[in-house]
């Protein structure tokens, strides 16, 4: 008979299990049940759940009955559903796969079928369970070793090694000059100098805004401060706008003017700071 683990629903408190109070159980039985009284979140994935279920078979993992295991797993999932426990998708994927494997194991082999046989699939699952179990035991053995800081100790008063460190840097004048020459030569290939005709500098903008702000007693749009002949060409307009905006920020910082913007992307208006 397949033993089905008892599930506590995750969201609601479990209805008091009747059989716990009822028939007295043997210690072994109770312990076996306690192991399985876990909510799904207590398992680290379907493989972990399968490994826990396989323990109830009380056989070496090498001789595990994958068919029985599949039944146990499917019953577990069925019960979880009955209790309306949300199972993570990977549990359901495993359930579907196990149901498929079960049907393959029960049916006579189809000589036409391609891919691994049902036995291969079952063997691989058994291998995975065995390997996971082996790694768990290895982890426990590792953690039980004499550990540094708990069983074995380092020198409590290590002596510091005084380190007189001198760094001598290797760089001669020739390296320096070469580096400089390299940079300068590079200029011929890389046009890092740009055409300044289309650049309105912040200095120019500062000068212009400073001169104009005196006349703008009331809120005036930033765009109105752009110099003549810079509005049409988008490149020139962008440069002039950026420079003018930076200049107004600078002047605002100095306390010469005030900036206002009613909402995001609304036009920016400025005025001279009232005295």
């Amino acid at each position: 008979m397949t033993k089905v683990p008892y599930l506590t629903p995750v969201p609601d408190p479990a209805p008091e299990p009747a059989e716990q109070a009822a028939a007295p159980q043997s210690v072994d039985e109770r312990r076996a049940e306690e192991v399985l009284v876990v909510d799904v979140s207590g398992f680290e994935g379907p493989l972990d759940l399968l490994l826990t279920l396989s323990r109830t078979q009380k056989v070496d993992l090498m001789q595990i009955s994958v068919l029985e295991l599949a039944d146990q797993y499917l019953a577990f999932v069925e019960q979880a559903r009955a209790l309306r426990i949300e199972l993570a998708a990977d549990y359901l994927v495993m359930a579907a796969w196990l149901a498929f494997l079960k049907s393959r194991l029960l049916l006579p082999p189809d000589p036409e079928a391609e891919g691994p046989s049902a036995e291969d699939m079952a063997a691989h699952l058994a291998f995975q369970l065995e390997r996971l179990q082996a790694m768990r035991e290895a982890a426990a053995r590792l953690m039980a070793r004499d550990r540094l800081g708990q069983d074995r100790f380092v020198r409590g008063a290590p002596e510091t090694v005084t380190r007189a460190r001198q760094v001598s840097w290797q760089a001669g004048l020739i390296d320096l000059m070469r580096a400089y020459a390299r940079l300068r030569t590079k200029d011929e290939f890389r046009p890092y100098a740009y055409d300044r005709r289309d650049v309105f500098t912040m200095e120019q903008a500062l000068e212009r805004v400073r001169g104009l702000i005196g006349f703008a007693g009331d809120w005036t749009q930033l765009a109105d401060f752009l110099p003549d002949g810079w509005e049409s060409d988008p490149r020139r307009r962008r440069s002039a706008t950026a420079a003018t905006f930076a200049a107004t920020l600078e002047l605002a910082r100095q306390g010469a003017l005030e900036l206002r913007q009613t909402e995001s992307f609304a036009p920016i208006t400025i005025r001279r700071r009232p005295q």
Binding site: E44, D48, G115, H124
Partner: protein, 237 residues
Amino acid sequence: MNSDFDSTDLPETAQESAPETDPQRFPPPPLAEQERMVEAVLFASAQPMSLREIAARLPMGCDAAEAVQALRSRYEGRGVQLTRVGDAWAFRTAGDLAFLMQESVVETRRLSRAATETLAIIAYHQPVTRTEIEEIRGVAVSRGTLDQLIEMEWVRIGRRRQTPGRPVTFVVTETFLDHFGLESARDLPGLAELRAAGLLESRPPGEGMVPNMFEAGQDEADDGDSDIPADDLFESE
């Protein structure tokens, strides 16, 4: 003499304290004296020291390897032992005296089950990719788990695997060996048996095999730190 270290092996940056000592003119101190020196140097250090680091502190012409061996047998059975940690050496108190040392115990954060399992898998299967760890555990490895192990300096990033996607691999460190009292990763308990049982093989599930239930492998390529030089120290053979 000094066969393990020819001069080109020494870091060219470091010149130890008596550089004016000409090895031609002054013979190295006798082995017994070299042993005393290694004893002093290793006693003073809380961290394991490699032969090269020890040699850099000794006068020219000393044979660090031989001195270490002599020292090791001297401390056999003592309350303090000269233990090998990968390619390095350190004095550690004997494990059987742990009961005396309760007061020195450092409280450490208890590792989660996921972390201990992941650590064991890395140690036994190294170098191992994240996908392989996930394949063995049957669940996705949360980034925090590996981060924690790396932060504890028990795990580091090894060479990239030369397979499509060039996934990074994980290996255990010298600090790991030191912590668990292992001379090398080959001394992991039960390693030979596990290998003989075929349980350290990574058999990729074939078509139609157990489903891959998590989105593994997608983050392998972005793991970064591609150029961490991975010396073969701890990689299992």
